[in-house]
Symmetry: C2
Subunit: 350 residues, 2 copies
């Protein structure tokens, strides 16, 4: 297969982890005789520094004409601590999601048997946990109108959702559940929010088309608690943008490290693959960042194009690295390997 892959390393640890994924994808291309073409472009703080724009036109154009986007990470503390900044790195990612129509962010979470003891949770709580979070990605309070009053004394963010926005991701979630344990949990705050009530109503309607899938509901506050008390109860979680952001980062504790969590953002033509962790600026350039989340995101990319054997080879390689403890310090505290070394190992066993 021939694939054009846009590579957007972004900020912080983005470049070093993405580099490992490219190595691994190249190894896959070699072994399975595919042609993967990579083209890089800037995004985020890196793009602001260079061109004053977190998503330069050239970057967006490249993504649009590619088959897929491999995304690193975004964010820089110099903007976080400046509430007055007019341009922010995150705008690049948000605009990219919107422009590419990536309305569904798919975040699988599972406990690796070998890593069960690394989690802050007890082994019996997480052993066997295996869920996928379907987070709506182009709506809600992320994209509604924002404003600050003229005198700067008040501000607002609008959260909006339409039936169509809810339906399209709900269908994806139910379809995924059909191939898994046949359970969808909608996480919302329907006892307070009007948008959540629209979610509940719409998802109930969609559920009628999937009679083999059980649907249940959890308020987001309760869900945040249940995620830790009993993560095994979840199969597919369906939720809106902001709740998905919070719940999925929280769920990373199940795997023992956020450095392991992959994601795929899908919607229309071009799909995007990115780790769920951020740019982790304190670690940038130190060779301590875990490349696995990015590499597993690359595995999702392969799956997206039906290359399941290839994806499996990548997942097997990751499992091998974990079994052998060829891991960065987030996982292997005592005798750890660098970001590049982990990449080399994974490349070598493909």
């Amino acid at each position: 297969m021939k694939l054009n892959i846009a590579v957007l390393p972004g900020d912080g640890i983005g470049p070093e982890i993405t580099q490992q994924s490219v190595k691994v994808l190249n190894a896959v291309a070699d072994r399975f005789e595919h042609e993967f073409y990579f083209e890089e472009a800037v995004v985020g703080a890196a793009a602001i520094d260079l061109l004053g724009n977190p998503l330069p036109d050239a970057t967006l154009e490249l993504c649009k004409k590619s088959d897929a986007v491999l995304f690193g990470a975004i964010g820089d503390p110099k903007y976080d601590n400046d509430p007055e900044a007019k341009v922010r790195p995150e705008q690049g990612l948000l605009k990219l999601r919107k422009e590419l129509g990536l309305f569904a962010n798919i975040r699988p979470v599972k406990a690796y048997d070998k890593l069960v003891d690394r989690s802050p949770l007890k082994a019996e709580i997480i052993k066997g946990a295996d869920m996928v979070i379907f987070r709506e990605l182009t709506g809600g309070i992320y994209f509604g109108e924002k404003s600050t009053s003229e005198d700067g004394r008040s501000a607002s963010d609008l959260c909006t959702y339409s039936v169509e926005e809810i339906e399209r991701i709900a269908h994806l979630a139910f379809k995924a559940a059909q191939l898994r344990s046949k359970k969808v949990t909608l996480v919302d705050k329907a006892n307070v929010l009007e948008t959540s009530r629209l979610w509940r109503k719409t998802v109930k309607e969609v559920a009628k088309e999937y009679k083999d899938v059980e649907l249940d509901f959890l308020f987001v506050d309760n869900a945040a608690m249940q995620m830790i008390l009993n993560p095994k109860q979840f199969d597919v979680i369906l939720t809106e943008n902001m709740f998905g952001d919070i719940i999925s980062d929280e769920a990373s504790v199940i795997g023992g490290s956020i450095g392991l969590l992959e994601s795929a953002s899908v919607g229309s033509k071009v799909a995007l693959f990115e780790p769920i962790h951020g740019s982790y600026p304190q670690a940038a350039g130190k060779g301590i960042a875990n490349p696995v989340a990015s590499i597993l995101s690359a595995a999702m990319l392969l799956e997206h194009f039906g290359l399941t054997t290839e994806a499996l080879a990548v997942r097997k390689a990751v499992e091998m690295s974990i079994a052998l403890n060829v891991c960065t310090p987030d996982i292997n505290k005592d005798n750890h390997y660098s970001t590049a070394k982990v990449g080399d190992f994974l490349e070598s066993v493909i």
Copy 2:
């Protein structure tokens, strides 16, 4: 001291737990020679069933003329599963918070040494954790304009905050930190939300008046993860309404049971005291609900009026019950005591 206390048992397990708090407060009054007068009123689903209004005028009036409100819990699944319902139990609580000007909800979270093994988290993670969450309670997306389009195809919720709303709770949080470990963590989503940027800017300003307190910032997604990875890093958490709702329910896993978590809502004249758990309708009437969260909320009530010795007596009684395992099934699975029995025990040792 003479105190008029409005008792609003509410829904689900609300009545049975609140009854235990009243017992304990009466025991306190007896032993320390105070006069506590209790008057009950309906709220929530109970009030809708009776009067068609989740916060009847008489209930609000009673609260306003009382010195404090002891609140049970609110919510009923028959409304949760009906996205079309025009009146909802929760509106009663929200309106009450607004009408009484209860802008700060104070939620202490700590790990009880005796219960460390009951938490889904490992003992070494939670041992020594001790934080207070200051959740803004009368602003944000809970109270902004809500709307549904005429054709019912889209909905919105507006999140707004003003400098004044942020300042007043920030001062409370910093003052609390001065009496604790002198650290405030602001939880927001300043990389995406305009309101969060106003929070960050305003809280930075307020911080200048508290030079002895360290201020740091966490994005809410990261905070949801850090809460589990390393809860001991937190002293005072300051956050807006919705994030506070999520983060504090999540934090309940540290204590080992949400049935232990107390809260005080303060602002202007009358303060309100309620457990952070909900109405838990599946348990209602079964005598299995844990009354401790409500009883510790009553201890906060005593503290609010400067009755620290009295509050300490209540806290000591609770610790005794935990030490002796005189606990409801959420804590004592094998040989548990009923809600009323736990109340009796606590009453007896005051």
